[in-house]
Amino acid sequence: MMPDVQRGRELDIDEDIGYQRRSWTAQRVGQAVMALVLLAALAGLLGPGPLSDATARDPGGAALQVEYNRFWRSKSSLTLRAHLGPGAVREGKARVWLSRAYAQDLQIQEVKPEPDSVEIGAERLTYVFSFSTPDGAPAATVTFIGEPEKAGTLRGRMGLENGPTLDFRQFVYP
């Protein structure tokens, strides 16, 4: 640690070039960390962005697809887009459900278009939408807007009654 000449012998100064060099190194590391955080944010690892956008789709048919964000932040408005395919409508009704635990974590504030009714079950919240188009016609997109309060992992679970169930995970930063 002492390749450096002792400077300022006549000064009563607490210079410490060893510490100074280590702190310069620490600054470099800190600057690298800052740069990485910014790159991660641009990529979407800290919230919205390309790496955050994801789609869950049912393996069988095209009845249900959900666009969601893998990473989000608490207290900011979070959108889920559920695309209902032709198979989703039966007898003029589409019945989309969310698990109650997920709905609770997501703190749903708005559903567009507004459902006809919401049914509260033991495990599920079911949103019922009416269609005037014949069954089998291309259906619609339903948007759920929430604002998660708590940080942590949200276990998304959404499905169609008598249809597929989609599971996905979202991580919410504080």
Binding site: G8, E15, Y19, Q27
Partner: protein, 152 residues
Amino acid sequence: MDAVLRAAAMYFFLLFVLRITGKRSIGQITTFDFVLLLIIGEASQQAMMGEDNSFTNAFLVILTLVGVEQLLSWGKQRFLLIDRVTQSVPLILVEDGKPLTDRMNRVQVDEADIMQAAREMQGLERMEQIKYAVLERNGGLSIIPKPQNGQA
């Protein structure tokens, strides 16, 4: 509870960022730095207060910030490490009229900055007249002139 945690987290985050970006004293702040500081203040205020505009929340945030500050200044007196982590150490940049260029490059101070400080504070004209120039821990430059002929 979370008002205290948020304010403390913001304090340490800002300390980290400002220490990482190196020394700069209030005297050297440019107009643009000042504008940046205002924006930083605005951005951190949102996060510290959250959606709670109550008197109690503001009270807690202020108490936390002042409390952490007090705690650190208490710690600085007793623990060398805290002192150095929060404030760094002084650094000699000129010795006997010779600029120590590798150090000056590291801290982004050039000879013009040193000569400006020498003129302003000591009325010196040339680098040779400087005995020591020190970058102080608060980011300011101190100039110690060589003794005049006859006095030494």
